[in-house]
Structures are given as structure tokens and as C-alpha cells.
């Protein structure tokens, strides 16, 4: 039974999809915020620049100062910095080995597969510190990440 659950409100889901489709074929990235609970509820998303030097179609990197600003945003708005999103252009929404190597405890990692500039699937993952592997968390409204159904 999956004990990890996350739900995105419409607004942050739209912000994320719009950005990740716009930066295709490069990877896009950012943070999301909200409330902790039995179900993590995401209420805000913050797009940041992919700071990776080199091929951004297969890698992303977040500028350290963008992380500082994200933590400040969370504190100022009484929100929790719940995780990081990024896209897999023309690849499935499955974590790569590089994603796992860089994963931090606690964070939810939302991955959106963008095929030919269209978001087609989203998944969310958390690092299991005991196994060193990702556990998939249930993305309760994954259809909000498909542009044609964002109003569903």
C-alpha cells in the first residue's frame, strides 16, 4: 500500500506545465511549496532557470542562490518547501540514475515527461533513506499535468 501521497492545486500545476513545455527540448526545473500532512498539498510553484552549463536536454542544475530564495519564500509565506520539479524531454517520467544520485531526503521529486513540447505524464518520487532508492508517491491528480485536461 502506498503511504506517500501528494496533490497539486490547479495553479501550480499549470505554472509547471507551461514552463516545462516552453523550455522544450531543454529540461526545465523549479520548486514547489505547500502544506505537509498525510497528503502533501502543493499550493505554489516557483520556476527557476536551469543553471546547467552544457547540454540542458539531459541535465538540470539549480543555482544555489535560487535555493536560498526558495527557502526564504517558504519562511515568509509560512509554507513548506516540499520539493523540486523537472522535465524529461522526450523521455519517460522515470527517475534517472543521475536523479537518484542527487536526491535529498524529504523532498518530493516531480518528473514531467514532455514529448514534442507536450506534457504527457507526471510522476512523483521520494528518496527512501533506508534503501537508497526512490519510492513513488501517489500523484492524486496527475491529469492536471496534461495540458489538454488541466481543467479537469
Amino acid at each position: 500500500m502506498n503511504r506517500l501521497n501528494i496533490i497539486f492545486e490547479k495553479s501550480p500545476a499549470e505554472v509547471i506545465v507551461e514552463h516545462l513545455e516552453a523550455v522544450f527540448p531543454n529540461e526545465g526545473c523549479g520548486f514547489f511549496f505547500g502544506k505537509e500532512g498525510k497528503i502533501r498539498t502543493v499550493t505554489h510553484a516557483l520556476v527557476v532557470e536551469n543553471a546547467k552549463v552544457g547540454d540542458q536536454r539531459r541535465r538540470f542544475e539549480i543555482d544555489p542562490f535560487d535555493f536560498v530564495k526558495a527557502e526564504r519564500f517558504a519562511l515568509e509565506h509560512n509554507l513548506v518547501l516540499l520539493g523540486v520539479f523537472h522535465s524529461h524531454p522526450n523521455h519517460p517520467a522515470i527517475p534517472s540514475e543521475h536523479d537518484l544520485k542527487q536526491a535529498l531526503p524529504y523532498f518530493s521529486y516531480l518528473i514531467v515527461s514532455v514529448m514534442n513540447r507536450v506534457a504527457v505524464k507526471a510522476t512523483s518520487w521520494r528518496l527512501n533513506e533506508k534503501t537508497g532508492q526512490f519510492d513513488e508517491e501517489k500523484l492524486l491528480n496527475h491529469n492536471k499535468f496534461l495540458k489538454s485536461t488541466t481543467n479537469v
Binding site: K52, L75, D99
Partner: protein, 90 residues
């Protein structure tokens, strides 16, 4: 006392406090004071020789200490220090 902001993924090591008051006159002293108050966070910040781990960045206010005097950067009582883990993937 200066203040150090704990990144969300490491807050379970600080009793879920988002910031901790610390003493010290340099960044390294401040980090060591933090690790003495919350020993479980030590391995995530310092290597076995007591130096800051390479994948951890420290900001003093808006400035990365790599652009200042690194771990010897001076701090004052009003200084806000941020710990920044590397975030990347593919």
C-alpha cells in the same frame, strides 16, 4: 547570536526547527556550533576532517562564501547564514 537557516531536507536533524541561533565569529565556527547543538546534522555538513562537504554551499546574507573568505568568512550577530545543498538531476 547569528542565525543559520536550515534547509528543509535537513530539518529532521534540528528538531524540525527552520533556523537555529548560533555563536561564533566565522562561518566555520558557526557551523561547528550548530553541529554541537544538533550532532546528527554533522555528517551532512562536515567531512571526517572537519571541513565543509563539497556539495554543501554556504551563503552569508546574499553572498556565497566562495566569493568571500570561504569558511573563514567573518560573521556578526546580525548575520543570517544559509546552508544550501546541491540540487541537480537529469
Amino acid at each position: 547570536m547569528s542565525k543559520i537557516i536550515i534547509p528543509t531536507p535537513l530539518r529532521k536533524f534540528t528538531n524540525f526547527e527552520s533556523s537555529v541561533e548560533i555563536s561564533g565569529t566565522t562561518v566555520l565556527e558557526a557551523v561547528k556550533d550548530l553541529t554541537s547543538q544538533h550532532p546528527d546534522i554533522k555528517n551532512h555538513l562536515l567531512d571526517t576532517t572537519g571541513k565543509l562537504r563539497s556539495f554543501i554551499r554556504i551563503f552569508v546574507g546574499d553572498s556565497d562564501i566562495l566569493t568571500l573568505d570561504r569558511e573563514h568568512t567573518k560573521i556578526e550577530s546580525s548575520t543570517v547564514i544559509s546552508i544550501v545543498p546541491a540540487i541537480a538531476g537529469g
